[in-house]
Structure formats: structure tokens, C-alpha cells
Symmetry: C2
Subunit: 196 residues, 2 copies
Amino acid sequence: MSEAKIRFEMVKRRHKKRFEEAVKKQEADEAIIPLCEFINNTKHFFTSSSCSGRILLLALKGKRKRDASFHRKWHRKVSFEEVWRGIEDAKNCELWFKTEPFIIHIGASSLKKAEKILDIKNKAGVKRGGIIVAKPGKFILELIGTEEIALPVKFGDKIIVSKSFMKEVVKNANEKIEANFERLKKFESIIRAELK
Amino acid sequence: MSEAKIRFEMVKRRHKKRFEEAVKKQEADEAIIPLCEFINNTKHFFTSSSCSGRILLLALKGKRKRDASFHRKWHRKVSFEEVWRGIEDAKNCELWFKTEPFIIHIGASSLKKAEKILDIKNKAGVKRGGIIVAKPGKFILELIGTEEIALPVKFGDKIIVSKSFMKEVVKNANEKIEANFERLKKFESIIRAELK
């Protein structure tokens, strides 16, 4: 076996193990498990940390607001009421409402195999991402959807958005997260058809 | 000359010409011209369409709102007044307020040279992007900053945000666009130190 191949097998084994542990502990994002399992069972590919997309309330703390934590996180459509409750419950932070598209990390055994993923990305209309690590035996791709919303909703204890505005934003966020899941489904179906 | 090398020279010539024409017609984003010129004068790299980052009002039209056009666009900090005037002036569209980080496209002559750009990306703390085209003689990288805001502000003729809320958003957008320019500067200084 070539050095690159040994390295790939080693890296793949490590990532696969980490994924299986996350599934066991129910820490993995459910909507993306079948796709990850399919990729991990191919010969030349594996997945690393991935997310199907989410709606969230992000709390920024500290002087430079670099300390970010999930105040709420949903991998699904949300109701205005649960979002508003989440906003009311937040304390002593700068709170942001966000939708984030899926983000998938895929390892490939060679540049040629990595190119294959770039082809599939283009076919599925996934706009963002590319090869982020390129070493013999270790090619990692990051693929990201595009549907995004991001706005501040609370500073300290002061809610800065109105209920009627947030109702519109939540409606829009639900549309965007649906479109995101549709794109992910399309990507998954092309992956299943084209990867061996 | 190898086939890959001929291809690289051809692609580089085409992109360089396009860039020079854009500068002549004053269509290029000024803040990014020196960086592009530096890269275009190296042996193994060139730039393709790039943007230093911007604050904008985006108008979505048509049934599925896929028809997007710039209602306003600023490659700089903005005042609340000019943003609000822009919002008031928009007609018959779904209007979004956004900040978008820089996006830079760099061509490299080989995988090894492309890896060099990935290294610089990591050193500069540029979070998003990677190699998006990987063909002999044609490696294209896309690098993207991270500071983003995106929210709907007007549906049809109805403004859905309050003035006081938009004042906070504009303040935040100005902070984000500043941080974006700072990161771009850091990236440029590392590029100048490390590329030949």
C-alpha cells in the first residue's frame, strides 16, 4: 500500500469511529445520518462533522462578544411562539436570530475523487464550498448551502424587534430551512447515484 | 511547455485582461485592486472576480423571488439616513438589508500552489472557502470572510422594521464591515509576504 493510501485509511477509520460514537450518544444531527452512513460505506470517501441546517438563537457574551453559545437550536421548522419564548428567556447577552444552511465535510482518497465531489456539488446546485485540505491521502471538502438569515434581536435585557416583524422573519426562516432541506435531499440523491 | 502550463498561461491571460478592462471602465471594486494587481503580477497566480465586502439593499422580484438586483450597494460604512432613504425608495419588491463579506477568487498553476493559498487562508483566519475547480493547469480557489447580516426590511410597499431597530442594525453592520476590511487587510499582508 502506498503511503497516501495508508494515511487515507487511517484518517477514514478515525473519522468513522467518531461518527459512530456520536450516533450512539445521540449527538449526531439525525436528518443527515443516512447520508453520512452511505458515504462512510464507500471505498474512497468518508464524512467529518456535518449539519443538516438549523434555525437558532445565538448568545454572544464577553467583552468582544466572541464567546458564542446556542441559546436555542432547531434542525426543523419553528413556531413564532417558541422563538419568542426563547428571546424572552435570554439574559445578559447579545442575542442573534439565525438560519444556517447545511454544512457537510467529506474526505476523499485522492484529488481525482475530490473532483468527483466538486462535480456533484455543481450538479446539485450547492453554491458554496470546495477542497479545504489537500494533502496526499487527505483531501477534505467542505460544502455549504446558501439560504441565510442573521439579525440581532436583543441587547442585554432589551428586545429590539417587534412581535409582528419577528412573525415575518420566522415565516421566512421556515421557507429558507425548507429550501435548504430540499437542496440537501437533491445533493443526497445525486451522491447515492454517483458514488461507489 | 507542458499541456497544463499552456492551459494555465491561457486562463491567466484571459482573467488578467478581464480585470484590466474592469479597472479601466471603473467597474472594479477599488479597495481590492492593489491586492488583485499584486497577485496578477506573480508567476503562479491570478485573480478572478473579487469583492472587498459590502453593505446592500437587495431587491427580490418575480413570483419565486429569484430575480435579485442591487437596490443600493456600498463598499464602505453607511449612515442610517442613506439606508432608510433607500428602504423608503424601494417599490414593488421584497427588500433585504445585508452585509456581505469579501469574496476573492484566485487561480493557481498547480495543486501545490493552490495549497499555498489554503495555508495563507488559514494563517489569516479566513474561515470559508477552498479549491472550487481542480483541473491540470486550472486550480481556482474561492475565499470568503464570515461577517454577515441578512434580514427582510420591506414587503411590497410595507416597511416591516422600525427606525430604532434599523439604527441598531446599521451600527452593527458598520462594525461588521470594518472587521471584514481588517481581515482582508491581514490576508493581503500575508499574501504580499508569502507569494512570489
